[in-house]
């Protein structure tokens, strides 16, 4: 299991993260739960296009760094799917292909998470690695482990704890209608223990806060440290006397990647590019839109068919995006890339 650590910036700024967390605990009702879960869906989803841009820019998709990023994307999608199941369990329909929910790039992560960060769509580079590292960075100093301890510190983990706490207090009726299980959403929220297990999984895999580079019971490094290995071009080799991670191990190869340029605000426009390039760019947007429409249909109808089609759409998008990434914008300007626009 992988763990994502909470950044210090995040802890300090999380009171801006969401007015929801300011809401008195005793007044958190089903409407609160709905908004909180929808926020969670949006936040998880927002990191996927930037991660996919970095992933798909790597020429050899079998490279260990590609495998690492793909793993992160899969876990973010799993978290999103579990949050969608939770939303569906309380009788709501997650908003996935809603223009208000789809982030625009460059831009902040939705909901006020990491307000200091501007996330762009670009190929894998040290600059994009810096952003990923910031997203995954662990907290320094003392880390609150429980919401009570963390009063005044509002971490992502605390956010999910707040959601869990509300489930435990309200004990709402949970319906399995329209929930989905499959390779990207293998848990169904049928009762409170299932919700607890799902949140534990999300927190453990990505949003928790323990102070160790190695994931519990495995020899795998948490995402943060793996990205640092690529940044330092050397493997993690232990901690120094102050407990800080040291990267003096074997060399890590930075994978060959297409120099996908940062997609400009609003994405590439028709007038700015050639016909051939526009065909690919528009094609990517169409496929991305189709992907979101299919994911929306999954939870609207509780139907596995669009889920199956969505998986294939993802692969189609990968193919189109990588074709685009091979095209130069102009000398010195880098290459094109997908805009992830909802049409």
């Amino acid at each position: 299991m992988n763990k994502k650590k909470q950044s210090l910036a995040e802890m300090h700024h999380l009171e801006r993260m969401h007015p929801l967390l300011e809401h008195p605990v005793e007044q958190r009702d089903l409407t609160w739960l709905e908004h909180a879960l929808q926020s969670a869906v949006s936040v998880e989803f927002s990191t996927i296009p930037p991660y996919l841009s970095a992933l798909w820019s790597i020429k050899d998709q079998m490279h260990p760094v590609a495998a690492s990023i793909r793993n992160v994307v899969q876990e973010e999608m799993l978290h999103m799917a579990l949050a969608c199941n939770m939303l569906t369990a309380i009788g709501c329909v997650p908003k996935i292909n809603d223009p208000k929910m789809v982030p625009s790039y460059p831009g902040p992560i939705p909901g006020g998470v990491h307000p200091e960060l501007i996330v762009s769509l670009s190929g894998l580079s040290d600059a994009s690695l810096d952003v990923f590292i910031a997203i995954e960075a662990p907290s320094e100093g003392e880390c609150p482990k429980t919401p009570e301890q963390g009063k005044g510190y509002k971490t992502i983990g605390a956010f999910y704890h707040a959601i869990l706490g509300t489930f435990q207090t309200l004990k709402p009726e949970l319906s399995t209608e329209r929930q989905v299980s499959g390779p990207l959403a293998y848990m169904v929220m049928e009762d409170l223990p299932a919700v607890e297990a799902a949140i534990a999984l999300i927190v453990d895999q990505g949003e928790g806060s323990e102070a160790s580079p190695e994931v519990e019971h495995t020899r795998e490094l948490a995402h943060y440290y793996r990205f640092l290995e690529v940044k330092h071009r050397k493997r993690y080799s232990g901690v120094d006397k102050k407990g800080r991670a040291v990267f003096e191990g074997e060399p890590v190869e930075f994978p060959a990647a297409w120099p996908m340029a940062v997609v400009p605000p609003g994405g590439y426009l028709r007038a700015d590019v050639s016909d051939d390039v526009w065909e690919l760019i528009n094609g990517c947007d169409q496929t991305f839109t189709q992907l979101l429409d299919r994911l929306q249909a999954v939870w609207e109808n509780g139907d596995q068919a669009p889920f199956v089609h969505a998986i294939e759409t993802m692969f189609g998008l990968s193919k189109q995006a990588r074709s685009l990434m091979g095209i130069e914008i102009g000398k010195g300007f880098g290459n094109y890339g997908p805009c992830f626009r909802l049409l």
């Binding site: 399995t176 299980s181 499959g182 169904v188 009762d191 596995q304 068919a305 199956v308």
Partner: protein, 177 residues
């Protein structure tokens, strides 16, 4: 033969003809009851098959919204089950339906009971197994629907990308020297 007048009523062996349509809420609930009973009978699901529902719903949709439509078979099955439950009470009714009929040859489906068993129960069993019900026969000691590392696969089950960290099948481990 089990059942009463409804079960024993004679029918031709072929699929009952029907126009495609959306099933009603009541029909879906009634068919779901049959599906859940399969998991109960063979004790191979948790959460009353909730984890298999999205697959089952998709199957149901694909069988009723286009030709050849199974709508008439599903309506028939609901009436057969209703009669069986009236006569035997629920647990015993499903036990008899599932265990007392065996594999009925396709050219011998000459009663409403036989239709219900062949076109509905038998197909639901296949869906149940393929959608994840097989896991508990292979890893009975584990909770198959919650533990994501319960690696085992079955033809028809979407195990996930072979490039995932969690492999979709039980891999061969080289013996340590």
């Amino acid at each position: 033969m089990i059942g009463g007048e409804v079960c024993k009523q004679q029918l031709a062996s072929q699929l009952l003809p029907a126009e495609p349509r959306e099933l009603t809420r009541a029909e879906i609930d009634g068919l779901w009851r049959i599906f859940v009973a399969i998991g109960t009978m063979w004790q191979n699901t948790v959460h009353d098959s909730a984890g298999l529902k999205s697959s089952w719903l998709e199957f149901l949709t694909s069988k009723t919204r286009i030709q050849p439509s199974y709508v008439a078979e599903y309506v028939n099955a609901l009436e057969v089950v209703e009669e069986l439950i009236k006569i035997y009470k629920e647990t015993e009714a499903f036990e008899k339906l599932f265990l007392d009929n065996g594999i009925i040859p396709a050219d011998s489906l000459d009663t409403r009971l036989a239709h219900a068993k062949h076109f509905v129960v038998d197909e639901f069993i296949r869906v149940q197994i393929v959608a994840g019900g097989f896991k508990n026969f292979i890893r009975p000691q584990q909770n198959p629907e919650i533990r994501p590392d319960n690696i085992v696969n079955y033809n028809g089950f979407i195990a996930g990308s072979r490039f995932n960290r969690i492999k979709p099948v039980r891999p061969y481990e080289e013996p340590s020297k």
